[in-house]
C-alpha cells in the first residue's frame, strides 16, 4: 500500500514539475519566434526584431492566387514584382526590372536586374518572370486577382535579360498593374504542386522561416537580398482576431504593431497612426438568382442604409460615406457628379412594396475578423435593412470559406459584404474585377463589358475618364452593390516602433525602424 502511495506522489510531483518547466519556456514546436520584448522591469537590450499582429491568418502564401489582404501583409515583404509603387508619389518605379520601355502599342520590354537571387539561392532568370506572368493570366489557374491583369496576353523571353509582355490592345496602366504581379520561382512552383501556398520562395528582403498554423508566421531578413539591408532583422506575424486582444498585447508590449485598431481604442494605445485608407466596404447583390434580381429591391437596399450613422457612430469618424461609387477624388474614373444614395427608409419601404416583395428570405453573407469592424458592420446593415422591411438572415463564414464563396459565381449568395481596395487608384482595377462579366467577383452580365474593355486601352486620358464616368453612372442607377463607406486605416504601435503608414496600405517591414 505504501508503495502505491509513493507512486502517486511521484506522479503528482512530475506533473507539477512539467507544468512549471513547460510554462516558463515558450513552445518550441512553433516557428522560431522573434525575441519577444522584455517586460519593462528588465534592462532594455538592443532589439532588432518586431512582432506584428494581423487580424487574420492568410489563406495561403502564394501571392498569385488569392485576393487576401492578410496574405499580402506578409508577401509584400517576401515577394517582389517587376515594378513597385513609390511610397511618396504612389507611382510605379523599377524593382526587379531595371528599366522598361513600350516598344509598340501592345508590346512592352523589361530589362531584368542582374544578381538577384531567390530565397533558395536560385538566381532570378527571365524564365521565372515569363512563367510568373503567364501563370497569373492562365484562366485555368483561376487566380482571384486575374481581374487586375485582364489586359495581359502573355509574356515571352527575348534574351537572357529581357522579357517582353504583350497586351491585348493598348494598356496605359500596365506599369501600375505590374506592381501587383509578384515574381515566383518557376522551378519551385512546378516542383511544389499543391503545397506551393505553404512554402513561399520569393526575392524580397525577407524570407519566411516558419508558419505555425493558427498561430504565427516568422520571417527573417534575407542575407542575399539585392537591395539595401533592412534594419529589422526578424519579424513575427501573429494572428490575433480580437481587437481587444491586439490592444492588450500592444499595451503589454507583446507586439509592436497592430493593424485595424478600433476607433474606441485610439486613446488607449501607446502610439497611433492613421492614414486615408483604400478600403471601400460594399455589399454585393446577386443579380442572377433570388430576390435581389429585382432592381427595385437593389435600389431599396441602398436607400435603407444610413451611411452617415455608420461613418460617425460605428467608425467613430474614421470613415466617410462613399460617393455612390467605389472611388474617391484622385482616382482615375472618379465621377464628381455622383452623390451617395440618401438615407430614406420610407422610400426603401415604398420600393419594396412596388416590387411586390413578400418577405422572402434574403441571406447576407459576411465574415468576421479580416477588416475593421466587419462583423459589426454586417450586423448594423442587417438591422437597417430589416428596419426597411427586408427579411434578412445574416450568416457568417470563416475566412477561407468566405473567400471561396466570394469568388465563385455558382455560390453567389443574395448579398455578401466585402471590402474593396484599389491600390492602382484606377477605375479599371475595380470595374474589371467587380463589373466586367469575366471579373472574379462580378455580379454583372456583359452589359458594361464593351465600355470597360474600350476604356482600358484608351490612350487619351480625357476620353478614358469620360468613359469610366459613364460606367459609374450606369452602375449607380442600376446598382449591384450597396455603396457604403471609405475607411481610414488605424494602426496601433508600441513606443519603440517608428513607421509612417502608406496610403496604399502596404505594410513594409523594410520601412519600419526600431527606436529605443
Amino acid at each position: 500500500m505504501r508503495g502505491w502511495l509513493r507512486l502517486v506522489c511521484i506522479a503528482l510531483i512530475v506533473a507539477v514539475a512539467t507544468s512549471i518547466v513547460g510554462c516558463s519556456k515558450p513552445e518550441e514546436k512553433k516557428a522560431e519566434p522573434a525575441q519577444p520584448t522584455q517586460p519593462a522591469q528588465q534592462p532594455a537590450k538592443a532589439k532588432d526584431s518586431i512582432v506584428v499582429a494581423l487580424q487574420g491568418e492568410p489563406s495561403s502564401l502564394d501571392p498569385q492566387f488569392p485576393d487576401d489582404g492578410n496574405m499580402r501583409a506578409v508577401t509584400e515583404n517576401v515577394f517582389e514584382g517587376l515594378l513597385e509603387t513609390d511610397g511618396q508619389t504612389l507611382k510605379p518605379k523599377p524593382c526587379l526590372a531595371e528599366s522598361f520601355k513600350s516598344v509598340d502599342a501592345t508590346t512592352w520590354e523589361f530589362k531584368i536586374r542582374k544578381g538577384v537571387n531567390f530565397h533558395n539561392s536560385d538566381p532570378l532568370t527571365v524564365e521565372d518572370v515569363a512563367f510568373s506572368v503567364n501563370r497569373i493570366v492562365d484562366t485555368a489557374f483561376k487566380s482571384q486577382i486575374a481581374g487586375n491583369f485582364r489586359s495581359i496576353k502573355k509574356a515571352e523571353k527575348v534574351d537572357e535579360l529581357t522579357v517582353k509582355i504583350i497586351t491585348d490592345g493598348p494598356d496605359p496602366a500596365l506599369p501600375v498593374r505590374l506592381t501587383g504581379l509578384k515574381i515566383v520561382s518557376k522551378k519551385h512552383v512546378e516542383a511544389s504542386g499543391d503545397t506551393v501556398g505553404a512554402k513561399p520562395i520569393g526575392t524580397g528582403p525577407y524570407k519566411v522561416t516558419g508558419w505555425s498554423r493558427g498561430v504565427n508566421i516568422a520571417v527573417e531578413a534575407f542575407d542575399g537580398y539585392w537591395g539595401p539591408k533592412p534594419s529589422i532583422k526578424k519579424a513575427l506575424f501573429r494572428f490575433i482576431e480580437e481587437g481587444s486582444t491586439r490592444l492588450s498585447a500592444l499595451k503589454a508590449n507583446e507586439i509592436d504593431l497592430a493593424v485595424n485598431m478600433l476607433p474606441e481604442y485610439v486613446k488607449d494605445v501607446p502610439k497611433v497612426a492613421s492614414v486615408e485608407g483604400l478600403e471601400f466596404p460594399l455589399v454585393r447583390l446577386n443579380q442572377f438568382k433570388g430576390a435581389m434580381r429585382n432592381p427595385l429591391l437593389r435600389q431599396a437596399a441602398n436607400y435603407a442604409v444610413d451611411k452617415e450613422a455608420l461613418a460617425t457612430s460605428l467608425y467613430g469618424g474614421y470613415a466617410a460615406a462613399a460617393q455612390g461609387q467605389l472611388f474617391k477624388p484622385g482616382y482615375v474614373g472618379f465621377n464628381a457628379e455622383l452623390k451617395p444614395y440618401p438615407y430614406d427608409v420610407n422610400k426603401a419601404r415604398d420600393l419594396l412594396k412596388q416590387a411586390g416583395y413578400k418577405g422572402e428570405k434574403v441571406q447576407l453573407v459576411a465574415e468576421r475578423g479580416r477588416w475593421l469592424k466587419d462583423g459589426e458592420l454586417a450586423e448594423a446593415i442587417s438591422m437597417m435593412l430589416r428596419e426597411a422591411g427586408f427579411n434578412i438572415e445574416l450568416k457568417y463564414y470563416d475566412w477561407s470559406g468566405w473567400l471561396k464563396i466570394l469568388f465563385d459565381r455558382n455560390l453567389a449568395p443574395d448579398m455578401i459584404l466585402s471590402f474593396h481596395s484599389n491600390d492602382m487608384f484606377d477605375a479599371d482595377r475595380t470595374f474589371s474585377s467587380l463589373v466586367h462579366s469575366k471579373g472574379p467577383m462580378s455580379s454583372y452580365t456583359d452589359v458594361h463589358d464593351k465600355k470597360i474593355d474600350a476604356a482600358r486601352s484608351e490612350m487619351d486620358p480625357a476620353k478614358r475618364q469620360k468613359m469610366y464616368e459613364e460606367v459609374g453612372k450606369a452602375i449607380y442607377e442600376d446598382p449591384a452593390f450597396i455603396f457604403l463607406l471609405n475607411l481610414k486605416d488605424i494602426f496601433g504601435m508600441s513606443k519603440s516602433l517608428d513607421w509612417k503608414p502608406r496610403q496604399d496600405d502596404k505594410r513594409l517591414l523594410s520601412e519600419m525602424k526600431i527606436i529605443q
Binding site: S244, L262, L310, S313, L314, A380, M383
Partner: protein, 305 residues
Amino acid sequence: MKPESRLAPAEVFRPEAARKRAGASLRRLWKDKLALVSLLFLCFVVFCSVAAPLVSPHDPTKGTLVNRMKPPFWVKGGSQRFILGTDQQGRDVLSRILWGGRVSLTVGFVCVAISGALGTVLGLISGYFGKWVDTVIMRIVDIQSSFPGLLVALTFVMVLGPGEWNLIAALTFNGWMVHARMARGQVLSMRETTMVEATRAIGCPTGHILFGHILPNIISPLITTYVLEIARIIGAEATMSFLGYGIQPPQSSWGLMIGEGRIYIGQAWWLVTFPGVAIALTILALNLVGNWIRIELDPLHRSRH
C-alpha cells in the same frame, strides 16, 4: 377504487399525508431564508421572461447607431431611457437581458422536459426489468457519458448549423443519461418492496406498476435532478452562445451578449457584467432551490445539514 390504501402504509402514496408534508415543508421554507429568497428570485425571473413583451422598455433587436454604447443611467453619459445602457449596435441592454432570459429559460425547460422524460422512462425500464435490458441501457449511458457535453453540442452545431432549436437538440441528446441513472437507482431500491410485489401479485399490468405506482414514489428525488439539470443547461446554453454557436443574433441570450460585448470590455464594462450577473444569479438560485428540495425530500439528509 384504490387497492393500495389497504397495503403497507409507509410505502404507499397517500394524498392526505402528502398534503400534510407539503404544509410542513412550506413552514421550513419560510425558516430557510436563503432558499426562500432563491425561490422568489426564480419566480421573478420566470415572470420577467414570460412578460418580456410587456415589461421590456425597448425592442431588443432594434437599435440605432446614434445611441451606441451608452453607459447605465447612474454613470456620466447615461440616460434614464436606457437604464442599463446600450450595446455596440445601440440596443437597450435591459431589454436584451429580459428577452435573453426568455430564451435561456425556454432552452432550459424544454431540454429538461424532453431529456428528463426520456431518461426517466429508460431508467425505469432499465431498473425494473434488469438483466440484459439493464446492461445494454447502462452501457449506452456509460459510453455517452464519456463524451463530454460541450464537444457533443459543438459536433451537432457543426452538422446542423447554429441556432436555438439545434442547440436544444444537442443539449437534449446529451442530457438524458443522468436522469436514467437516477431513476434506475431509485427503482432498484423500490423493486423488491412488498408493495410492488403485491401489485404484481394482483395482476397489475407492468406499465401500470411502473407509472402508476413506482414513479409517483420516486418522483421526489428526481425533481431535484430536474431542477439542477435546468441550471446546468442554462449554463451550457450560455457557454455555447458565448462561443457563437448557440443563439444567433439578432436574437439575444445572456451568453451571446457577453460574447458580443467582449471586445469592448475595457470601454463598456456593462455589456459583459450585467448578463454575467444574470446568469450567475439564476444558476445559483436554481442550485439553492434544488438543494433545498433534496434536503426536504430526504429526511436523512435533513439531519446532516
